[in-house]
Amino acid sequence: MSEVGLDPARARLLVEARLGRRPQDMLEAAVVLEAWVGVPAQRALAAAKALMPETAADPQPSVGRLPPPSSQKGVLLEGAAFVISVIAIALWAAPLVSSLGATVVRHGLMVTLPLTIALQWGLRRRWLDHPHGLAQLADRALLLLAGALATVGLPTLVLGPSGMVAGLLTVTLTGGTILIRRRWALVYVAIILLATPPLMMGLSPLPVLAAAAAATALAVALALRTSAMPAPSSTGQWERAVAAGVIGIGLGLMLVLDRTVSWTEGTVPALALLPATFASFWGGYHLRHLERAMPRAGSGIPVIGERTRGLARPPLGVLFGALGRLLVLAGVLSVGLMALTPWLGSSARDAGVLLGFALLALATMLVSLLESMGGGAWALFAVTCAAAAEVAVRVDGTDPFSGTGLVVGGLVAVVLVLPPVIVLLSRPASTLATALWIP
């Protein structure tokens, strides 16, 4: 091996030539001398110590590498699939009512909506929002099958035909969430669209709903089978998944508690949801920028020093951008719906109902954001208060306008959730470090 003269000046030159900068400390210098110059360990350590300057240099500012953003591929397709599904299922209401009766369908939907939203939130928190979630879910095929059977069986046992309607719709809609996340959105849309003509033609609805649910379950099984791979033993936490599920129940209840909104008057009530659905999707889609805005707010801001002004601007900008998008689009589409569709009747075009749905969409977006930033307990409290407010309006029975319950519930949720969301986003580094990066 080549012998190297190890006077400190020469050693420093060798180290700096290899690194292209000064060594961080004597250990880095020793490692370089040993690994790339071939100096034995003992001599490398001694030489490294000698080459470090006695006087401290000025500290070098550092800018950390930002974490790469997660893939957003397919988000628009997911949104389109969701909207198509809402429209198609809206078309199912009339044939279901004409075959099964308004009471059966109303009761069925009152179970379907909270149960579906609860399962969707729980599934997302536990599996679907995690990189390996689908693979891990694939390992739980039997659990899913048992869950699907229970979802149909238990409500049927308790509520009879309305329970069966609720169970079958819940399996279809929840399975659809998995298919959309697996990027099998077109398969899901195809199932929904194929089920629509037989219902419209007056075929017995329960077999059609059962076929749709079975087809969705089969598609889920196939979709998960193709995503099976070695998966981590843990993704989301059960505790948070259950809490998310309970929040979902609360949001679902908020949707069905308002007695001025009928879900059985043909396609009309579901179509009234469309402005809020589109708006919520646009607002939520804009929130994806938070993933970059949060770390970017702290990037290049030294931990030594008091420079904290302006930190909150990027994340709060994203939040207000999302709020603005949601409110503006909901407003524009609602006005459009009211102006351009006089044939739909009053229940789809009632300003109070449309406002209520918009507020509920806003509340849902904020609750979801708060929950994802570790504020699950407060989010649950807010949703509980909002649902309780709706119950109070329902019990009181003096609705001054259609959709009063929705408006009151939505407002309560927004008022309770917006301040903590703003507080968390105005301290991006702290939120990043404590809530987002500590699971």
Binding site: M1, S2, R22, P23, Q24, D25, M26, L27, E28, A30, V31, V32, E34, A35, W36, V37, G38, P40, A41, Q42, L45, M52, P53, E54, A56, A57, D58, P59, Q60, S62, V63, G64, R65, L66, H130, H132, P230, A231, P232, S233, S234, T235, Q237, P295, G298, S299, G300, I301, P302, V303, I304, A429, S430, L432, A433, T434, A435, W437, I438, P439
Partner: protein, 499 residues
């Protein structure tokens, strides 16, 4: 916290001594040198009951090794996962004091002269109140205390430590997350045991150090590489920001200091590592060098004389495959009919490096003269096909691939890193790391002189039997474990640097 308890009464007279083997990203989930060593050790020392406690990322890997009856996996510590800690919350008063936990960790793990005992006390608190760890780290008070501690570290001015860079808030948040997982690792339960055997002076030492503090169980630390040195090498080559580099290397150094301070015996696999360990502050009286060993074939098969050069190792920057490719290119200028076979997978997370190797292979026009053969489960068979075995690593402890070459009677050309010069002495050629010309000339010399190559191979085979046999290695660990397990004070063990 505070007083360390004495050794508890042993149960050794009644049953086999229990050894808790803590691993970190290796046995039994990942193939590699350390895993092979663990496998040989636990399969050979059947007079002990082995309890394996691996620290792993949450990637759902399957076990790569069958565990025999006297070996059991006693849990698994998943880091950077979403699992919640076990229950056990501190009382309000303790919680208030505990909000300083992140500050204690950052100050004493990252500080150049941090207090190892303070770190251990903090880890013991984590073990007592596992659920408290998460609540402390998720609190604004914990973050604020951490920033205060970090600022103290960044304000340190020690000549040999250089001037710390000023981290930004994102780097600080990442460091905070790392310290959270350090604390979570400390909070993980460990089973009752008689001896703690740690396989690296890093994360795998954390649960063992806590166990030792709580129960007084003796702790042996085997270092294959030198944890701190490898952390610095990784930081140098990955081109991270100064702040990230600082955080990664200081955490590694802090963990190693705590491990060294609490180990009763440190057993590096080569003298070169021992020098590093002494340089990092270990009392030489604690050090017992135990060379890796290999089971030897009785008579090596003759070399094929096909001018074949074989290398075995992961495709990883530490193995400096770029230099290997350049050595091949230069060798082929002098010996055009030589061929190079490289066995080994691309290290997980080093896929970009793997691609750079393929690109360099194309640029050098090596074609079929240098082939990447992929992973092998028969390294001895691979080496048997060689006339010369080549290694170009920039960091090694005592590499098994060189011992395998010697076991098969093949001459070795290698970079002189870690324990390699001591091993290869008289049975191969050693050059400075990255010196592709010297390495190529050595390869050319041996390919052109098969008789010389054969003589060096025979000498390597004989040297392996004398110094680096598997039996000697296993006997060394047997003696050490029995001595420690039976309560003999570490100073009674015959330890010190090998002659």
């Amino acid at each position: 916290m505070g007083q360390r308890p004495p050794n508890p009464p042993t149960r050794l007279a009644l049953a086999r001594p229990r050894v808790l083997l803590t691993t970190e990203g290796t046995y039994p989930y990942v193939m590699g040198g350390v895993s092979s060593w663990c496998n040989v050790l636990v399969n050979s020392l059947t007079e002990f009951e082995w309890q394996v406690l691996p620290i792993v990322p949450p990637d759902g890997r399957k076990r790569m090794f069958e565990l025999p009856d006297h070996v059991s996996e006693v849990g698994r510590i998943e880091v950077w996962s979403e699992t919640l800690p076990q229950r056990g919350r501190p009382q309000p008063l303790q919680r208030r004091a505990a909000s300083r936990l992140p500050a204690v960790l950052v100050r004493n793990l990252l500080g150049w002269e941090g207090d190892a005992d303070a770190v251990v006390d903090a880890w013991v608190w984590c073990r007592r109140f596992p659920a408290g760890v998460r609540s402390v780290f998720r609190s604004a008070r914990g973050w604020s205390a951490f920033l205060g501690g970090l600022r103290e570290v960044l304000d340190e001015r020690v000549p040999e430590a250089g001037t710390p860079p000023v981290l930004d808030l994102v780097e600080a948040a990442k460091l905070y997350q790392t310290l959270y997982w350090v604390a979570r690792t400390a909070a993980a339960p460990t089973p009752a045991t008689d001896v703690l055997h740690v396989t690296a002076a890093g994360w795998s030492a954390i649960p063992a150090v806590v166990h030792k503090t709580l129960h007084g169980t003796p702790l042996i630390l085997t270092e294959h590489g030198v944890y701190v040195r490898e952390a610095y090498l990784a930081a140098v080559r990955n081109g991270d920001s100064p702040g990230s580099r600082f955080a990664a290397t200081r955490v590694a150094r802090g963990l190693a200091r705590v491990a060294y301070a609490n180990a009763d015996v440190v057993s590096p696999v080569t003298d070169a590592n021992a020098y590093w360990e002494m340089g990092l502050g270990i009392d030489p009286a604690k050090i017992l060098v135990l060379y890796n060993g290999l089971r030897q074939t009785s008579t090596p098969t003759p070399a094929p004389r096909t001018r074949t050069v074989v290398s075995v190792g992961r495709i990883d920057p530490l193995k400096d495959v770029h230099t290997m490719l350049r050595v091949a290119a230069e060798t082929l200028r002098y010996v055009p009919d030589a061929r190079f076979l490289h066995y080994g997978p691309v290290t997980k997370s080093e896929e970009a490096y793997g691609r750079s190797c393929t690109a360099l292979h194309d640029r050098l026009g090596l074609g079929e003269r240098f082939r990447f053969m992929g992973p092998t489960d028969d390294p001895n068979g691979a080496v048997r096909d060689a006339d010369v075995v080549l290694m170009t690593s920039i960091s090694e402890g005592l590499p098994m691939s060189i011992l395998e070459a010697m076991g098969e009677g093949r001459p070795v050309v290698s970079t002189g890193v870690g324990g390699v010069p001591d091993v290869v002495r008289g049975c191969g050629a050693v050059a400075a790391p990255g010196d592709e010309h010297a390495l190529a000339m050595a390869v050319v010399t041996l390919l052109r002189n098969p008789d010389l190559a054969s003589r060096l191979g025979q000498r390597g085979h004989a040297r392996l039997g004398r110094i680096f046999s598997e039996a000697a290695c296993i006997d060394g660990y047997r003696d050490l474990l029995q001595t420690v397990a039976h309560g003999t004070a570490p100073q009674d063990v015959s330890i010190g640097l090998a002659a």
